[in-house]
Symmetry: C2
Subunit: 408 residues, 2 copies
């Protein structure tokens, strides 16, 4: 019997009817002969409502308490889905993160999975049960409940699939696959039948709907991930070790365009240029868990430098507080921020070691009158930070410029 | 330092303002020098809302799933209360039933506490933390979450107080103490300063607001229980091993009147009277967890008997199903039910071994034209099953008949 891990997002279980719909889909997979472990997110806006509740009693809720609070959202959806499955006549059991053996470190709000003890899941599968696991949550060695942060339920699903050596992990969501660009910005965008882990990782890191953590996990443990709609029956996109990543195959192409509006820039002015400056600036940010993305530093003739870097907009207030504590130490003239930015990226493993992509990208943007604020690259990605107001235009220019509307 | 366990009911934590109010009360106890373990119920109507949610996906939700679902209500209130305490500047931590070491059997929906492992609670107290425990819930040896049924949070509080050898257990609720009768029915009702466990147990079993389980636990482990309002500052009632239960003191009096409208009667008609009949009838009820209260059986000349018994109205449909399965085996002529009944009881340890109370009670009811359907007695209680429509009148007649308006 094959083993499939399926993940259903919050919009897929937003109310009783949708929960029943998901139950029917799981039942159908069972009827087709598969063992199923389903992972669910909290219903609809539950998580946001719980966050609001927390803020109604505390301006800065404690992280440990917040995690235990938020973990209830997934417990509600997973028990309801289990009840719906049993009502259809299928043996089913719900498991909390702890019961499913999801052990994590103690970084509340952004915990990382340390190990998965699959004993209980295996035991329930052997009894013939369909299993519904509360996503997004785990437990520390002290039995304190943690949450996995953004994309947490996807991470739960892919990690469980890896630990259980599942045949594949299916992510059911409100988009029906991975596109060459956001269809709302690029009307010509095309759904991809398949995509390699590396490419998907870059797309996800730079704005596509999935969180990069789960892709990364899938890549490391070689778990095929199928992304499809939980509402429609149209085929989705398979993320796997595909031909694109086979070095023998020398395909030359851009796979897709990613974009992200959750970008804020911090510039520290006139820092004295001496060893240790970067460490003094970025260590305090790491301490409070702020992820720094693009970093640009240019030393001028007078031995001072402006250091600019981007963070997510949600992290901006926290990042700014940390930066202000070290301004004196850095001998900096001041700090300025800009929240009106966005990033646009082209991604494709075919770009590897092939010159010309960057210049084509910069030319396309320049022809559209779009100013580039910062640039970063990886082996298979080139990203530009631009003004947010020009993002839609930029995506369309690049989608057309790299002929992504054609299935080549 | 003294140790106090405090319990706050659902109406006491129904919204953010009330939660902040409860936080202030706990903080005040700490300021007065006490270690505090607070136990909370779910906010307001949360539990009912979760039950409705369950019924929206399943006509008969599975008991295990229901318990995990319902347990989230107390997790929400206990984390919010902890956040509110921390916002006031007090170190505080929330603990789920499992984290607080509340171990139970596997009777989902009505689990009984098997043991309490106080290690974590003690460890957090030693760190100087105020502790907020999710009431109503525990965990089986297989780490499955259970709920304790009616009165569950009171039970959690008293059991924790017993296990921690606390100085006392304070139950804060929307009533401000224990009265000689329900003040809504008997306007002359008087608040008691203190009451013995046995008397309180009878009052609670026969309708007073507290659940008898927690009283029983308090009695067994000699935990003084203080019942008071979480909104007002007026003094409440202390339930303890009081003078009333001291056999040396020979007080002769009725302490209070209890009443209960959650009464349904089942009568099995013309059962053949032979050994084993009662067992055949009541064993199937026990199997599904139905509590049978008053039982009346009278054998007639023709060797057949009617057996009548009362159950709570909520248990009536389940009880009836079970009874119908054994009607043939009992050779019974049929079964009839009545849901329009209520019970009224007089309670007082002074009644023990003192004749005359029963006849005074029956006379008072007869003078008021109230028909008595069934009668049961314990050493310190006499209960009559009457028509629900006459309950108010009966309570007033008895309250006046036994001079409870006078502080004697």
């Amino acid at each position: 019997m094959s083993l499939i891990v399926q993940k259903y997002g919050g919009s897929s279980v937003a109310d009783a009817d949708r929960i029943k719909n998901v139950a029917s889909r799981i039942a159908r997979s069972r009827d087709l002969g598969a063992d199923v472990v389903a992972v669910v997110s909290a219903m609809g806006d539950t998580t946001d409502e719980l966050i609001d509740l927390a803020h109604s009693v505390s301006p800065q809720p404690d992280a440990r308490e917040m995690d235990l609070l938020l973990s209830t959202g997934e417990l509600v959806s997973c028990t309801l889905l289990t009840m719906a499955l049993r009502t259809l006549g299928y043996p089913a059991i719900s498991l909390s993160g702890e019961q499913a053996g999801i052990h994590t470190d103690t970084t509340y709000g952004k915990a990382r999975i340390s190990r998965i003890d699959t004993a209980r899941v295996r035991q329930e599968l052997e009894k013939g049960q369909l299993i519904v696991v509360a996503g997004f949550q785990g437990v520390t060695d002290d039995l304190d409940v943690t949450t996995l942060g953004r994309g947490g339920s996807d991470t739960t699903a892919v990690a469980l699939a890896a630990a259980m050596d599942a045949d594949r992990c299916e992510i059911y969501t409100d988009v029906d696959g991975i596109y060459t660009a956001d269809p709302r910005l690029a009307p010509d965008a095309r759904k991809l039948e398949e995509i390699g882990y590396q490419e998907m990782l870059e797309l996800a890191s730079y704005g596509a709907k999935m969180h990069p953590r789960s892709i990364e996990l899938g890549m490391v443990y070689n778990v095929p991930i199928y992304v499809a709609s939980s509402f429609k029956e149209t085929p989705g996109t398979l993320i796997h070790q595909g031909p694109d990543e086979d070095p023998v195959e020398d395909r030359v192409k851009v796979t897709g365009i990613a974009c992200n509006t959750n970008v804020a820039k911090i510039t520290v002015r006139s820092v004295v240029d001496r060893p240790g400056v970067a460490a003094a600036l970025f260590e305090p940010l790491a301490q409070v868990g702020v992820n720094v993305d693009t970093i640009v530093q240019n030393t001028s003739a007078d031995r001072t430098t402006d250091i600019s870097f981007t963070v997510s907009r949600t992290d901006l207030p926290g990042a700014l507080r940390q930066v202000e504590t070290v301004l004196g130490e850095l001998g900096a003239a001041g700090v300025i921020t800009d929240s009106s930015l966005a990033s646009v990226s082209i991604v494709g493993s075919g770009m590897q070691n092939t010159p010309g992509y960057a210049s084509r990208m910069f030319r396309a943007l320049a022809d559209g009158g779009i100013n580039i604020d910062m640039i970063t690259t990886s082996e298979i990605r080139i990203s530009c930070i631009i003004d947010e107001s020009q993002l839609g235009e930029a995506v369309q220019l690049l989608h057309h410029g790299f002929q992504l509307e054609e299935d080549n």
